[in-house]
Symmetry: C2
């Protein structure tokens, strides 16, 4: 039994050390490994399959809005990156640079893309001539490189996977519409598939993307009360258009600059899944995003008929479109249960001689461990229902957790005390001055997460300086 217990014992309890718990879950669920290149991940099958499901569902949502996929080079000539001043200032410090190619020193150094605005500008400046060519709604799924000093699995790594959408439009209004539309797509995707409730809002100027006129964000609250920026959507106005001479002839025959957006969501969302839904036994995956939704586990499988029946159930569930596997290995049932739980597989179906005799199986929900006895011939109909219920419950639980960890503060003392003592978001009014953001960060380590679309007037004055308030802000410590 010593070995049997080991799987779960290796996971540090969340309450003891959240960071270590996170690392343990990532490792024991075999989601990724670090490679020999500092800060670069090897994403293993259990982790990559989650990303594949994210890609599949999000990509379908993009395409419904008219987005088309492309692939752009991974290298950016240094001179191209330098064309937009704010942008290069934001990214230059964390670039990886190719100086040698084919055995020779390159005439111009190549930046491994940290993001691809400049490449898309280059493309659009050459392919957009008329209003008839607009809008262009391109996206790519790729990896990008940002040299990081400290890294954490999925949350911060020198290379990470993401999608980056880049659009150009004839009018400022259309660009703004698209910026908000894609933020809404992200929020809808995260809530519907990942069961993670999102705060939608706008970033302050201090926190916005290098080169953007406005950055919008979806923010989620992790189990430890820290915030995670989970997706961003930027409106560039015509800033890049002017730097890259991206013009078009409009209907009125005048030459105008295009208006541009970009938006990205990355493998960080896998980190969010772990930290919003995980527990001390490992990962817990919402059924809609789980690569394996259901594991059939025979009990006392050496007994006559058990394996046959288990395989029959497996085939039935598979035919019903459920992402199901069967664990008919020679491990003990307890060991199999632990493995299924660590990997976060949404449900397991336990099936032993007594169950078979009674014409039933026991379905166990990963999130609540609730055991549901289901008649064998109702499994294919009941399991999708149980998964729907589980998906909804997981969202509601995450929402409740966020609500319980969201506080309002009116005075600065209240604000500081809440940040110091109660993990979670603090909502407070802000004057709009960057000086207050800086002071708050220095005093509390909390940063402005966003100015939410859903505003409440908590008081008339800034929580920090007491000057007239402009907006309510979500503040918090963040990943």
């Amino acid at each position: 039994m010593a070995k049997e217990k080991k799987l779960v014992e290796d996971i540090t309890p969340m309450s003891e050390d959240f960071a270590q718990w996170y690392t343990d879950v990532v490792k024991k669920a075999e989601l990724m490994r670090y490679s020999t290149v500092k800060g670069c991940m090897m994403i293993l099958p259990n982790g990559y399959a989650i990303w594949e499901n994210i890609q599949k569902n999000l990509d379908a949502m993009f395409k419904e809005t008219g987005v088309e996929n492309v692939y752009m080079p991974m290298f950016i000539p240094e001179s191209l990156l330098q064309k937009e001043k704010d942008h290069v200032e934001g990214f230059a410090p964390e670039c990886a640079i190719v100086t040698l190619g084919g055995g020779e020193e390159l005439e111009e150094r190549l930046i491994v893309r940290p993001t691809s605005e400049t490449l898309f500008c280059d493309l659009y400046s050459n392919t957009v001539q008329s209003y008839r060519d607009l809008p262009k709604l391109y996206n790519q799924w790729c990896s990008v490189v940002r040299w990081e000093k400290t890294t954490r699995p999925f949350l911060r790594s020198s290379e990470f996977l993401w999608q980056e959408g880049h659009t150009v439009h004839a009018t400022a209004e259309e660009a703004q519409e698209r910026t908000e539309q894609m933020l809404n797509v992200y929020a809808e995707f995260c809530e519907k598939y990942l069961a993670i409730p999102m705060i939608k809002g706008r970033k302050t100027d201090k926190e916005k993307f290098a080169g953007a006129e406005a950055t919008y964000t979806i923010e989620a609250l992790m189990h430890d009360g820290k915030a995670l920026q989970s997706g961003t959507s930027h409106n560039f106005g015509d800033g890049f258009a002017r730097a890259f001479d991206m013009t078009f002839t409009d209907k009125d025959n005048k030459i105008k600059y295009v208006h541009q957006t970009s938006w990205g969501l990355s493998t960080r969302t896998i980190g969010a899944l772990i930290m919003v839904h995980g527990d001390d036994s490992g990962l817990v995956l919402p059924p809609r995003i789980a690569p394996v939704q259901c594991m059939v586990i025979p009990v006392a499988q050496h007994k006559e008929g058990v394996l046959d029946k288990a395989n029959e159930v497996y085939e039935t569930l598979k035919a019903a479109g459920i992402r199901v596997k069967i664990d008919d290995s020679e491990k003990s049932p307890g060991w199999k249960f632990s493995e299924q739980e660590i990997r976060g597989i949404s449900l397991r179906v336990e099936l032993g001689p007594k169950d078979i005799e009674a014409g039933q199986a026991v379905v166990v929900r990963r999130d609540t461990r609730e055991k549901i006895t289901v008649a064998m011939d109702e499994l294919a109909a009941r399991i999708p229902e149980i998964m729907e219920q589980m998906q909804n419950d997981m969202f509601q639980r995450a929402l409740k957790h966020r609500e319980e960890h969201t506080s309002d503060a009116v005075t600065y003392e209240e604000f500081r005390e809440t940040i110091a003592n109660k993990p979670g978001f603090v909502r407070a009014m802000w004057c709009g001055d960057e000086a207050c953001e800086l002071k708050i960060k220095e005093d509390t380590t909390a940063t402005s997460r966003c100015m939410p679309f859903e505003q409440h007037k908590l008081s008339d004055v800034c929580v920090c300086c007491g000057k007239p308030a402009k907006t309510m802000v979500y503040w918090g410590k963040a990943y």
Copy 2:
């Protein structure tokens, strides 16, 4: 009308200049553009959508054989690449090398992956301990970089997209089985989806992959009679295993080296699609791989009821699962036809007032331009049948072309004359000596494409040196 004609007029006829025809088709079909980085492609929506369909179908075939997807870092530490001697010798000359990261010179230079054997070896050497951990069947979809001096769209570029599968096994037999299995998957995929017949065979030692014990290949014949290597599968034996110390404890409790394979297929296959099926009007895509299978084109759409009916047809076909679009732009029908033809969209449905009156539509096949009149209410049923027929016809036509451009040669004079005067494959016997391969290449510029699985004894002696022959070889000029 001058402008109307321009689309097709810009395509150089194939018979006049095949290379220019190819470039024109790539450009006019808007498949890709060159970026400002030498030899790197921007793959545009029309091109990338083909790749997405290749990915989707091939990936499903991989998964059916038990393969799991992962993602490995794009960087390889120089010391890791150098561990296997033949491998580094093969790839070092064409590497792109990162020397700077985060503003500092790196302690160890990083190679942008030209292929990822070494990274997978690193992973497997750390994760495989027991025979229970075997086999590992991993694959990744990614881009790789090989610094090329001369480049051609899709066929040879400094960065290209591909998949690379890397497996390790307990026995040499199992590795050999997997090597052949994946070659068969490639051939089946190319024949079934791309409608391109393949010659399956083994590469000579001269042509095999750097570090492999044996390389297997599928070879296709392009319209101009040149060969294109379209996918390769390698058996590494235990060569890398010894270099990377990839061992496991077998059932007999002995420590053994694993046996390894890798296999890859790239965006070159898009080049093959163009050069096998294209014609002087542009691309011709087989229905199973075409991103858009059918374009509904209203004729005289200003007339009452035409657009409504066209939209109705579009909705019906869409509901039937056909990848359909409608071109209801204000361009003339002729212009729309040209665009649809250039892009290679398999079918178009023409629909004018007279058709509507007669309760029918005209379906035009892209490959033969055959016009098929179909009753309106039979469109959804007939179009899939027409596409099946077209798919089969395209394969048969490509096969016939290959057969007509495959010659046998017994004497060296015959061989040289055939290579010089008749485009296509030449089959001839070979002694197995590299000297003959080199001489043939020097005399004719043809290379050995493969030693096919399907052998015929054309004579007893080598076509080049007259010594006893070991095997029949397909020879040809190649991309």
